[in-house]
């Protein structure tokens, strides 16, 4: 039988917004004909709420700030070092709160520590964070140590161990920044799994840009040189990786990124990143105000990027076309040899 006279129950066609596609709707990519069970989703929408993308952001912030703090420690920039360790600890604590409270059973958070499982990015991430966290905590507490406690035995021990502990954390920081991409990609969610090759670069770049931006905002311009470089290189990397991500996606899955809320969030992120990058390169060396402004723009851009990618994933689970069309195409290609 021809496809023109099939029952709509067998051939439910959807537009981007879930409405049935009609001739009046103009599509960038022609709506692919596909069949579904009454237009119902094939896979489950993630049960994760806003805390997960918030963690993706704060985790990246903690990682980048730690790397800058360790570098500042070695290169003799006390203000950048102090801001870095304190910023990193604050972001890390926020991360832990987000992660634990997003669980269905928060009181069982420590069950994460009963296994180490290479096939689970969440398990790998748990152990990366476990390796990363204590050093950051130690280094940050050393920064906060009141002057009168410094000569005590404990005080001297703390101050002496702060540098090695901080450096050890900095070794794990790049992992903290990039593993979260695998966390999302290692799922059946079309928009996340489809972006698996580019997402680590988007997230790492975004982490560098946002943490560099935060340090630009918190540190005097004389000491913020490395933060500016880091932020600028991260922003360039993020912008490039983000473009490649959209280009390489399956045209149907790409729509999860180029339409709706995900699109708006990511375009805002892109605009702020470009603005922050311009400010960083052109004026942040001379003006503290420009440094703070462009730094904060990059911070906000980083958060919007994570929320945008997260939203794209959610959208790609709610409409069966994102699941069915690419898989059906694969089957057709395979049957043609």
């Amino acid at each position: 039988m021809s496809t023109s006279d099939v029952d709509p129950a067998r051939l439910v066609r959807h537009g981007r917004d879930g409405r049935r596609a009609g001739a009046v709707q103009r599509e960038v990519v022609p709506a692919a004909d596909f069949r579904s069970y009454y237009g119902r989703p094939v896979i489950k929408a993630p049960v994760w709420e806003w805390k997960v993308p918030a963690y993706l952001f704060t985790g990246g912030l903690a990682a980048g700030s730690a790397v800058l703090a360790a570098g500042a420690d070695l290169s003799g920039r006390p203000a950048l070092r102090r801001a870095g360790w304190l910023g990193s600890l604050a972001a890390l604590l926020a991360s832990v709160v987000f992660l634990v409270t997003d669980l269905g059973r928060p009181e069982r958070f420590h069950h994460m520590l009963r296994v180490a499982k290479p096939t689970s990015p969440m398990s790998v991430g748990t152990w990366i964070l476990t390796a990363f966290g204590p050093g950051v905590g130690l280094a940050a507490i050393a920064e906060l140590l009141p002057r009168r406690l410094r000569p005590t035995v404990l005080g001297r021990l703390l101050r002496r161990s702060a540098r090695p502990a901080g450096l050890a954390s900095a070794v794990f920081a790049p992992g903290v920044a990039s593993y979260t991409a695998v966390l999302l990609s290692h799922t059946a969610v079309p928009a996340w799994h489809g972006a698996r090759e580019q997402l680590p670069f988007v997230f790492s770049g975004s982490a560098a840009a946002a943490s560099g931006g935060l340090m630009m905002a918190l540190t005097p311009v004389e000491e913020a040189g490395p933060a500016r470089w880091f932020a600028a290189s991260g922003a360039v990397g993020e912008l490039a990786a983000s473009k490649v991500l959209e280009e390489r996606l399956h045209p149907v899955v790409r729509e999860a990124y180029t339409t709706g809320r995900a699109h708006r969030l990511r375009r805002c992120s892109e605009g702020l990143t470009v603005a922050g990058l311009a400010g960083t390169v052109l004026g942040a060396r001379r003006s503290r105000a420009v440094s703070v402004g462009s730094g904060l723009a990059l911070v906000v851009a980083g958060a919007l990027q994570r929320f945008g990618v997260f939203e794209a994933g959610i959208a790609s689970t709610k409409d069966p076309r994102y699941v069915v069309v690419p898989q059906r195409e694969r089957l057709v290609q395979r049957s043609h040899g």
């Binding site: 993630p46 059973r105 790049p174 670069f201 490395p226 880091f230 990397g237």
Partner: protein
């Protein structure tokens, strides 16, 4: 340690790969949808045996479906598909008699409208009822006119359509390479000695990773207790040498339980029989060890494409791409570190 095909591809002995040295043969389900009568005895038996909470009693505007899809509180789900084509090889014997149209275009519109208001796009079905505050709508059913009536709304012979009903009892696939099991960070999900996949409820902390790891949309987190739930293939009954409750309750043997190797043989014979009888659309789904999940422990005989029943046509376990993803993340991490070191070298005072 990564053994051959531990992450992806055909795997002969899945229980041994998980560390069970001496174990019974792998068991599973063969669900033959060609004999399913849509009685939902499997849904009820499952709920009774496993004490699974209810998931709403409303009909959903999708024929006689009232559970929607698998979820935390629906471990067997009977799908109803109505189509205006004849069942292969079927002689209805009513060629000249008037019958009514199925009314499915109307239902589809109603369902699509409700979907737009659902928080999780309708995928909360199977876990909890769809909360939609819309007035009830007239589906146009049941509306009968007398046989032989003519005219616009008459259902005379000229308005008669072909019709077939597809019913399928869906269940967790107990994959050879299970996406849910691979991503579980607590070890709550494990591979049993029977080769099935089960959640340990005393371990699960409700992280929700398995929900997104499953390429079939089976497992879900229950809002009632914050933990992940799905079919256990009646792990407790298997220990006592009993077959799972759904298979036991199935009155037509649409759900068959047994050793997987034997079920695969039986299923291939059944397909051959159906093809001989002219039901050429009969095909197996999930029995192929070379598919994206290494073959499933629970597989199906379908009479149309999988997506018509709400099943993914070519599911792939995300773990297949784990090495590639970690490689990309490693390169990105190295770039991140290089940028940091370069930033300090570049801004030496």
């Amino acid at each position: 340690m990564i053994r051959e095909n531990s992450l992806y591809g055909p795997l002969d002995d899945v229980a041994a790969d998980a560390g069970h040295l001496e174990h019974p043969p792998r068991v599973g389900f063969f669900t033959d949808t060609s004999v399913c009568i849509g009685c939902k005895a499997c849904e009820v038996a499952c709920k009774e045996w496993n004490l699974v909470p209810d998931d709403g009693f409303d009909l959903l505007g999708m024929s006689y479906d009232n559970s929607g899809m698998l979820g935390a509180n629906t471990w067997r789900h009977v799908a109803f598909v109505e189509q205006d084509i004849p069942l292969g090889g079927q002689r209805t014997g009513i060629a000249e008699l008037p019958t009514g149209p199925s009314g499915t275009p109307v239902m589809t519109e109603v369902v699509a409208a409700r979907l737009r208001h659902a928080e999780r796009g309708g995928s909360e079905l199977g876990t909890n009822p769809l909360e939609v505050h819309e007035p009830p709508q007239d589906l146009g059913m049941p509306s009968f006119s007398r046989p032989g009536d003519d005219g616009a709304d008459g259902h005379g012979a000229e308005g008669r359509t072909d019709f077939r009903w597809l019913m399928e009892s869906d269940v967790c696939k107990h994959c050879t390479h299970a996406g849910c099991l691979d991503v579980c960070p607590t070890g709550a999900l494990f591979r049993t000695e029977f080769g099935t996949v089960v959640v340990q409820q005393d371990i699960c902390n409700g992280c929700g990773y398995c929900v997104s790891g499953c390429p079939y949309g089976v497992i879900d987190r229950s809002p009632l207790d914050g933990r992940a739930h799905k079919c256990t293939l009646c792990y407790d009954r298997l220990h006592d040498g009993l077959e799972p409750a759904c298979a036991k309750a199935c009155p037509t043997d649409s759900i068959q339980f047994g050793e997987l190797d034997e079920l695969r043989e039986r299923a291939n014979r059944r397909v051959a029989t159906l093809h001989d009888r002219g039901v050429t659309e009969a095909r197996l789904y999930g029995e192929d060890p070379d598919d994206g999940v290494g073959g499933t422990g629970a597989f199906f005989l379908l009479l149309d494409e999988p997506e018509v029943y709400g099943l993914p046509p070519d599911p792939v376990v995300p773990t297949r791409d784990a090495p590639a993803m970690w490689r990309a993340a490693g390169i990105a991490a190295a770039a991140f570190l290089t940028a940091a070191v370069g930033s300090f070298l570049g801004s030496r005072r």
